[in-house]
Symmetry: C2
Subunit: 463 residues, 2 copies
């Protein structure tokens, strides 16, 4: 084993940056194999807890168990925070109770909340039991806020100052504070009723004269988050308004916590993952470390929905059995029309789902976007009608067959554009996540319309 293995390669050689190095993982697993604890600790030492979590997710369950047992008391609480939920419970079960207690005590209260919210009751109590009284109370308080709300994301430690203070008073206050949070970027100004009225950055504070009023150096952009706001909207606000931290208020607009951008960024990443997996019909809880059984279970429902869709399309085809028996070329060509419609519909619906997620599709532009999608379907439909008309003509030597497939193509691509935008918007209005359900509906429409238009026209024109 070479001593010079780079565990995480930060070099820029194309996409290799930050990927766990295969040889490094092999070296770690070798240390586990020969039960060389000193070597394992030495190899793991330079790794960030997030990378250790990735490593644990990538190795198999048997190696994971042996590694954790050997690593034992070196196990850091931050690794638990970084682990995918799918193997977090397993890892917590493997840890020596004392190691677990020690690991959890080092965490910030908002990380403990994130850790325990999905655990089952015995594990949750084991972790809460390891905390000091005040931390436990803070965690229990946070757990009273709804899941996926700003209340679960926020830190309860806030650095605040009365709005009438000047820079000198604020600096003296900070210099004399015993227990400032580990990470903070702003001082929140509050009025006598504890309503937040502005943010002063520490940088601005440091570079201003002592007699300057805090009120006069607040940031231009100041954004207050209601404690019950959905975390996806919190992430949106941070991204839209370039916030670094934002005060959180209760229903009486009183300051009760602060959310920082790193937590918002993690939520944004989760939201994207959820959208992309839902669009593909994969359960949004899907993780690469899930086992075969869990994965099969997650994927089955979407395939079942698709089977119903496909059978519906087949029922349409069955109406035209006679026509197909007379002109087998219809069977050869019909999947093309359905497939093109399905793809055009997916294009339109993906744009619509994304625009709904980024709040760019609103009442102000909905009709214009619908008109655009229909026109795009029409223009692309005409283009592919010409191409497929020629293919049909050349392949089967029948101008009429070419004309039928061309006409069906135009119809299906226009319908695809319309369905691709209208279905996600309608689902959103009904309170259903459009990322989850649009695909099945749009494909059903384009399959049914595609087969019906093509075979129906064929009956009229060719028989």
């Amino acid at each position: 084993m070479s001593e010079e293995i780079d565990i995480v390669d930060a070099e820029t050689e194309d996409s290799g940056a930050y990927t766990l190095d295969r040889r490094a993982v092999a070296a770690i697993l070798y240390a586990v194999d020969i039960e060389d604890r000193a070597k394992l600790v030495e190899l793991m030492e330079p790794l960030h807890p997030a990378d250790i979590a990735d490593l644990l997710e990538q190795i198999n369950a048997f190696d994971r168990m042996r590694l954790i047992r050997l690593y034992d008391r070196e196990f850091d609480g931050d690794i638990l925070s970084e682990l995918d939920e799918s193997i977090r419970e397993e890892v917590i079960g493997l840890l020596n109770p004392e190691v677990l207690a020690e690991a959890v005590r080092d965490l910030d209260s908002d990380d403990v909340v994130d850790l325990v919210e999905d655990l089952d009751e015995p594990q949750k109590e084991a972790i809460l039991g390891a905390l000091g009284d005040s931390d436990r109370a803070a965690v229990r308080q946070s757990l009273t806020y709804p899941e996926y709300s700003a209340g679960r994301l926020m830190q309860r430690e806030v650095v605040m100052a009365p709005e009438h203070w000047n820079v000198g008073e604020a600096i003296d206050f900070l210099r004399n504070s015993e227990d400032l949070p580990e990470q903070f970027y702003h001082i929140v100004l509050v009025d006598p009723k504890l309503h937040p009225v502005g943010n002063v950055t520490l940088g601005k504070l440091m570079s201003s004269r002592r007699e300057v009023l805090l009120k006069s150096i607040v940031e231009d952009t100041f954004h207050v988050i209601p404690v019950d706001q959905y975390e996806g909207d919190v992430a949106y606000a941070f991204n839209q308004y370039h916030l670094i931290s934002a005060p959180v208020v209760d229903e009486n607009d009183r300051l009760i916590g602060v959310i920082t951008i790193d937590d918002a960024m993690a939520v944004l990443d989760d939201e994207h993952e959820e959208d992309i997996l839902r669009l593909a019909g994969v359960g949004e809880e899907s993780r690469l470390s899930d086992n075969t059984f869990e994965t099969t279970k997650q994927r089955f429902p979407w395939l079942a929905v698709n089977l119903v869709t496909a059978v519906l399309a087949s029922l349409v085809i069955a109406q035209f059995e006679e026509a197909i028996a007379q002109i087998v070329a219809l069977a050869v060509l019909m999947p093309i029309v359905a497939s093109m419609g399905g793809n055009a519909g997916t294009q339109a619906l993906t744009v619509a789902v994304r625009a709904l997620a980024t709040k760019d599709l609103t009442g102000s532009n909905l009709w214009r976007v619908i008109r655009r999608e229909v026109l795009v379907g029409l223009v692309n439909g005409l283009a592919f009608a010409v191409i497929m008309g020629l293919v049909g003509l050349i392949w089967f030597g029948s101008p009429a067959l070419g004309g039928v497939i061309a006409a069906a193509m135009v119809v299906n691509l226009v319908v695809a554009g319309l369905a691709g935008i209208a279905i996600p918007v309608a689902l959103e209005k009904l309170g259903v996540d459009p990322a989850l359900a649009s695909g099945a509906f749009v494909t059903t429409v384009t399959d049914v319309v595609g087969f019906f238009a093509f075979l129906g026209l064929a009956v009229v024109v060719l028989l």
Copy 2:
């Protein structure tokens, strides 16, 4: 017009938060209609530049032109930064040159870089000409770094301190500095060769005694970004290691700038958008404000690729024309097998593309993931084989036909799982973005295999 219109609704009533209010937009457009400049300015005043940009994107080109002309000198440079590229050029062309110059002078140099990098030469020079000499030099310097590199993202103003300083020296230095950056969160410690060696947060600085050495209060996690690193990897590092800001170094490891998390978050959001749009076969430059012509042009190539795929599948069907002529039920049932395979393949490939993007799929777990996907395909294939076998039997009364569709289903779902993982991984190895091209390949495989397995087995068993 009511005076109490909330322009951007931050309330938590489900997904309505932060969506531009339709009535507010109507009020603004009404002010434009009657050319009431005072009213327009009054209505726009409470809006954040990011919301004004969204508004401009959502209204049509004619209203946009009239609004910008009426708004005139109130137009803020930050609005330009927030605008989608697709209408940014149009808006810059509409602005009075003096207003444009004024707007651009207010921007930070990294925002100007972001603004000009996609403009055509005359517009770029007009904007650069409006800047002061030092700002222009800074922007030109940044533009020498490759597009999508850390060099384009970084701010060049860095607050640094020699590694041997103590807290008192650092505070005195900051208090006496004339031109600290607007936003900074860390002091970067550097050695005599200007190599960054650690980060001290301002909060930690404020809460430490004057004689404490800076070196002793650096942050645990310290991450240095090479100037030529791909921006997607920069965003990954911020998200993975929870960075707030990170120093950027040149090829000699010397400190030349700093990247902050808000820029990394914007990149993460862009990367996600790119992935989701590429997966759906929509040009990643696609914007909701694009017109019909641009949209048609973006969508055409993918549909053309899909047409080739679909024709390939049809060629497979054409090999079995005789069988279909004898048993028309084959034509009715065959799309089901292909459609199920396509969906199962899309599930597997989406999980693979996402795992490659998050660097969770590596040499260490590739074989285990492949094995899992094949097994999932097998298990789901068997489940749907039973279901479809029964459907085939009941619908067409033929146990043999039921058996054929069942067997084809198993084959196609196993192949779908294998192709869904192997194709994105192979593309990544070849340096092609798997999000862009996997879909076409996987669908081709599942269509061809689906039709071939079903019709081929039918010929062997039924004829």
